[in-house]
């Protein structure tokens, strides 16, 4: 039991830091403690959150996926173009986009595994490819006027005083599914084993190739889903969606205590990472006085402080066992 606790330490620390951050912000800014702010953390970070789910699993396996932002961007404009300019039904367009995202991911995974190429480079190529294709489809954003979109924007689930919009709900469900895949399926555990030591995973008879291809496909799928949710969020498709998203997603995953070299991590950590990231953004907006450059420096400093704090806490508690 103690060993269990020790292994979960980074996770607990992250959770504690989020709680502290949120409470501190609530005390400082009037109106911060509201269900709206909390739900907005999900709504406003749905695109980021969905990519982070796939990214978490990829990082579990010791890989990295830089293409997610571009895939989201491609999906966004792809869906909008299909619906608006070719009259395709949104459901069909969405399904096609998800299929493309998954297929691209699988392709990258296959190259990474069978040709033993660094994930960083191959997914970088994927990023250039998809971004180029996105702009090739259209350099401008396209508004989506399909009635289904208008209806989707109005979907709210009321839980007492809290109204949960569709976008937030999708993210929540996505996170749960991601957690289930990562922690209660063979596939998820194989990924962790793979990230912990690929040679060992192979010798232990795990399906290394299939897992790798699978996880990149999943990540591509998540990124496409993120692009779709982005079109719901804005009611339009934009080829510039998700520029720089990959770095944010990596940051979220790492803040959540998942180790970039693979083999160690937890989806719940990603949830906390996402919440911390969102809270920092909210605080900046509630403050609203910082000049943009100081805000950037502040984000950097906060990120640093956060990582050091996490480290310090884990070490201190680890010693005091």
């Amino acid at each position: 039991m103690k060993a269990m606790l020790q292994r979960r330490l980074p996770l607990l620390t992250t959770g504690a830091i989020f709680a502290a951050l949120f409470i501190a912000a609530g005390l400082k800014y009037e109106g911060f403690f509201s269900s709206n702010v909390a739900v907005n953390l999900f709504t406003d970070n749905a695109v980021l959150g969905l990519t982070a789910i796939g990214m978490t699993l990829v990082i579990f396996a010791g890989g990295i996926d830089l293409s997610v932002g571009a895939v989201a961007g491609f999906t966004s404009i792809f869906v909008a173009t299909l619906i608006e300019q070719h009259g395709v039904h949104p459901a069909l367009a969405g399904a096609a986009a998800l299929a493309i995202g998954g297929a691209l991911g699988a392709g990258m995974g296959a190259i990474i595994h069978w040709f033993k190429q660094p994930a960083f480079l191959i997914t970088l190529a994927g990023m250039f490819l998809m971004r180029g294709c996105a702009f090739w489809l259209n350099t401008e954003s396209v508004g989506i006027n399909h009635p289904l979109y208008a209806r989707a924007a109005d979907i709210y689930w009321e839980f007492g005083p809290v109204g949960v919009p569709l976008v937030a709900a999708i993210l929540a469900v996505g996170l749960i599914i991601g957690g289930v895949i990562g922690h209660t399926t063979r596939f998820g555990r194989n990924l962790l084993a793979l990230g912990g030591n690929e040679q060992s995973a192979l010798l232990m008879g795990l399906p290394v190739g299939a897992s790798k291809v699978g996880v990149y496909a999943f990540s591509g799928f998540c990124a496409a889903a993120a692009g779709l949710v982005g079109t719901l969020y804005t009611g339009s498709g934009n080829p510039s969606t998700g520029i720089g998203l990959e770095l944010d997603a990596i940051a979220v995953v790492v803040i959540g205590g998942t180790v970039l070299t693979g083999g160690r991590g937890h989806m719940l950590g990603t949830v906390f990472g996402l919440l911390i990231f969102g809270t920092i953004q909210s605080v900046l907006l509630f403050d609203g006085r910082l000049s943009p450059w100081w805000a950037r420096i502040l984000v950097g400093v906060l990120l640093l402080a956060f990582i050091l704090l996490q480290r310090g806490l884990v070490r201190a508690v680890g010693k005091g066992k």
Partner: protein, 504 residues
């Protein structure tokens, strides 16, 4: 014994790596219900044969027949599915996962790909209990000692319902009790009709459990023998391809060392690792560190070498305080440390043998005073010859060498720095008989040259044979010291086990 039908037949297996022919037309047969020893010097091709069998490598030639059907394993998963369970030479588990997960990985109980965590833990506990291992199944594997990790690896292999079990040097880091437990299990499995392949460098163990022996030398088959027809000396002769010369001389009963010690440690301690240890070492002494597994021997060595920070205590060299705080300081002071975990703490896998060999010397000299290429090559040539390191040349990456030969390169790395004190932590682990004798001879020579040696080994005989004095640790404390004159296996064992309270 009735002659059981062959369970596994390998015929004419060939495998070449760039620059080396690792296997050349090797035949190998295992029957159901036997324990079959696969023996040979370092680099003879044992591990390679196993990896070809389980699909890690693709053979260049030959065929494999398992229970009458041709086996074409493309990956270890295929071999497992065919009923072959393997413990590879290097511990091959995932250090960042829990013990329970490591045992269950790839065959976790559960439905539709979803896992049943409770069953996984229960299952792991049962698997460990069968080997009488006590450890928390939720602990992260990487936090366990190598020996425990090895036991977990074995538990994992035994957990599989297999027809053929392969153990590649499983006992290298185990202590006697654990070895005994393992043997008990092996015998039981044999009785159940399993075929077992067992690789080891401990001849005692071969004669304790095995039924038949296959000997490899330089990638070729020497022969297959029933155990009774091949006495020890003949076996060694077959492995080496020559008669071994005189067994190494036992350490001369040492005159008690006097004068200022070369190194003296006082109150050396680190929470959770070592409790206030005093230790003096003189020039020309070989101090054997005795102790059971986990008694704190490696921790002592790590503290002496400045790898872990110490909480308290002082280290003096030649009676002068020295600010020994890091391995770098230690190397500058003339210390050397050959660590027990060569994979993660020893080799630089992708660098060449030459670079691995000179790195410590170069570190000692600092970055500016480079060792000339000619000098580097001279050093390599010297040590490759002196330690009989088997390698295509000095420029191949060290990871392509067999485990034992990697170990020899690491030894050479430290000898090249011409240390005043050398700490050898399990230097003979995974090393063949011939090389073992050479290392023992080397220790004698070092001693004669006035170099101090700290010698850590799980083989009691080895400690007794080579040490001029033994310091015994128990539960991370100094618990006794045995001067050379009184050093016998029985006495050492008694002190280690704690059956006898030493007078101090």
């Amino acid at each position: 014994m009735t002659a059981p039908s062959p369970l596994l037949t390998l015929r004419g297996i060939g495998k070449r790596f760039p620059g080396v022919v690792a296997l050349d037309g090797v035949d190998f047969t295992v029957r159901a219900g036997e324990i079959h020893a696969l023996l040979g010097e370092n680099g003879a091709g044992k591990s390679t044969l196993i990896k070809v069998l389980t699909g890690v490598y693709e053979a260049d030639a030959g065929e494999i027949i398992l229970a009458g059907n041709p086996l074409r394993a493309k990956a270890p998963a295929d071999a497992e599915r065919a009923g072959i369970s393997t413990v590879y030479q290097e511990v091959n588990l995932v250090p960042s996962l829990s013990v329970a997960e490591n045992i269950a990985l790839g065959r976790q109980p559960g439905r539709f790909g979803f896992l049943n965590w409770r069953a996984i833990r229960r299952h792991a506990r049962a698997a460990l209990a069968r080997l009488e291992i006590e450890c928390d199944v939720d602990a992260e594997l990487g936090t366990l000692s190598i020996a425990l990790q090895q036991m977990v690896a074995i538990a994992r292999a035994l957990d599989l319902k297999a027809r053929l079990l392969i153990l590649d040097e499983p006992t290298a880091s185990l202590d006697e009790k654990e070895v005994a437990d393992l043997f008990a299990v092996m015998r039981r499995l044999r009785a159940e009709g399993l075929g077992i392949v067992f690789v080891t460098h401990f001849l005692d163990q071969v004669y304790a459990v095995c039924d038949r022996i296959t000997v490899l030398r330089n990638g070729t088959l020497v022969g297959e023998y029933p155990i009774r027809e091949l006495p020890r000396l003949a076996l060694v002769g077959k492995m080496l391809g020559r008669e071994i010369t005189a067994t190494p001389a036992a350490a001369t009963a040492a005159t008690a060392a006097t004068g200022t010690p070369l190194l003296s440690a006082r109150g050396l301690s680190r929470r959770g690792a070592l409790h206030a240890l005093d230790l003096d070492i003189h020039r020309g002494e070989v101090v054997g560190l005795g102790g059971l597994l986990g008694s704190g021997r490696t921790e002592t060595a790590r503290l002496l070498f400045g790898i872990d920070p110490r909480d308290g205590g002082e280290i003096r060299m030649k009676d002068a305080a020295c600010g020994l705080r890091s391995p770098r300081d230690a190397v500058q002071l003339g210390l050397a440390f050959c660590s027990e975990d060569r994979k993660s703490e020893g080799i630089l896998p992708n660098l060449s043998v030459r670079e691995n060999l000179i790195i410590a010397l170069q570190a000692k000299q600092g970055g500016w005073r480079t060792i000339s290429r000619a000098e580097q090559e001279r050093l390599c040539a010297h040590y490759i010859a002196a330690l009989r390191i088997k390698t295509a040349n000095a420029e191949v990456p060290i990871r392509t060498l067999s485990g034992g030969n990697q170990q020899k390169v690491l030894l050479a790395r430290w000898l090249a720095t011409q240390p005043e004190l050398i700490i050898l932590d399990e230097p003979t682990r995974g090393i063949d008989i011939g090389a073992k004798a050479e290392i023992e001879a080397l220790i004698g020579k070092l001693r004669a040259d006035g170099i101090a040696v700290i010698f850590i080994s799980s083989e009691i005989e080895e400690v007794v044979r080579n040490s001029t004095r033994a310091v015994v640790l128990r539960e991370r404390r100094h618990c006794g010291e045995i001067p050379g004159a009184e050093l016998t296996a029985a006495r050492l064992m008694q002190t280690m086990a704690g059956g006898h309270v030493p007078h101090e």
